[in-house]
């Protein structure tokens, strides 16, 4: 009887460990929160239109914070939507990805969350067509 119980405990711990490792949602949400705070600071700073080289820090920011992997989509997207400069989440049901965009009317920046891969990647930043 003890042997069966021990085997059951072993089975439960062996099966659960890889699942726990594969889900990094809590860390992802914390990282997204950090990204949003930095992005909001950056977007709050006005950039004159003639200083186009100033787009660099946005791309750097995306390189610094992405990719993030093994995350559930909704908690990540909800965290992103807390940005002051959050604009839109578009969905492509064929390719199963979400595009999250932010803008301060001068600069637009976005990232993509791939549902199947459970992974978010930064997109490039650019100027808006205003």
């Amino acid at each position: 009887m003890r042997g069966v119980a021990a085997a059951a405990v072993l089975l439960v711990s062996v099966v659960q460990t890889p699942i726990a490792r594969a889900d990094d949602t809590v860390a992802c949400v914390a990282k997204m929160s950090e990204y949003v705070a930095e992005l909001d600071r950056l977007l709050a700073t006005e950039i004159p239109w003639y200083s186009s080289h100033k787009i660099g820090p946005y791309n750097e920011l995306n390189r610094k914070h992405f990719p993030v992997a093994d995350c559930d989509g909704d908690p990540l997207l909800i965290e992103a939507s807390k940005s002051r400069f959050f604009r839109h989440i578009g969905y492509n049901p064929r390719a199963k990805y979400y595009v999250v965009s932010f803008s301060n009317e001068d600069v637009r920046i976005s990232f993509v969350y791939h549902v199947k891969e459970r992974r978010a990647e930064g997109n490039g930043a650019g100027w808006t067509d205003k």
């Binding site: 989509g73 909704d74 997207l77 909800i78 939507s81 839109h88 989440i89 578009g90 969905y91 492509n92 049901p93 064929r94 199963k96 979400y98």
Partner: protein, 127 residues
């Protein structure tokens, strides 16, 4: 022995009844067929009419959509010539689908958590 038999009967009951209930609650194939038909009629209407009431009438014939898997339903909407995009609201798990011509905008919301559509609407474009 009797307990073992009872347990077997209960297990067999669960095995057969639970999957059946799931199949009944999943209406995806019908939803996709209906959305496909809706999109065809919508595209025809966009091509010939700018009359809001005609779009309202069409919507009231097709909506609501219930018990559908979200992705197959949404993929069907993207086949419209007048498809303009899907916006997602993660807090409420709502997908808002938009179709538009230069004159008329048509949209509806699909709630992934409740597996049903709501708020289908028609408006003049730019309003």
């Amino acid at each position: 022995m009797l307990d073992l038999m009872r347990l077997t009967v209960v297990a067999a009951f669960c095995w057969f009844v639970i999957p059946t209930t799931r199949v009944l609650a999943d209406n995806t194939a019908t939803c996709v067929a209906r959305m496909s038909s809706y999109v065809i009629e919508l595209d025809e209407l966009f091509s010939v009419s700018t009359w809001i009431e005609a779009f309202d009438k069409l919507n009231s014939r097709y909506f609501p959509f219930m018990d559908c898997d979200t992705d197959p339903l949404l993929v069907e909407t993207t086949k419209s010539r007048f498809f303009r995009g899907i916006t997602y609201y993660p807090r409420s798990k709502r997908y808002v689908v938009r179709f538009a011509s230069r004159v008329i905008e048509v949209g509806f919301t699909y709630r992934a958590d409740q597996r049903r559509s709501e708020n289908h609407n028609v408006a003049q474009a730019g309003h």
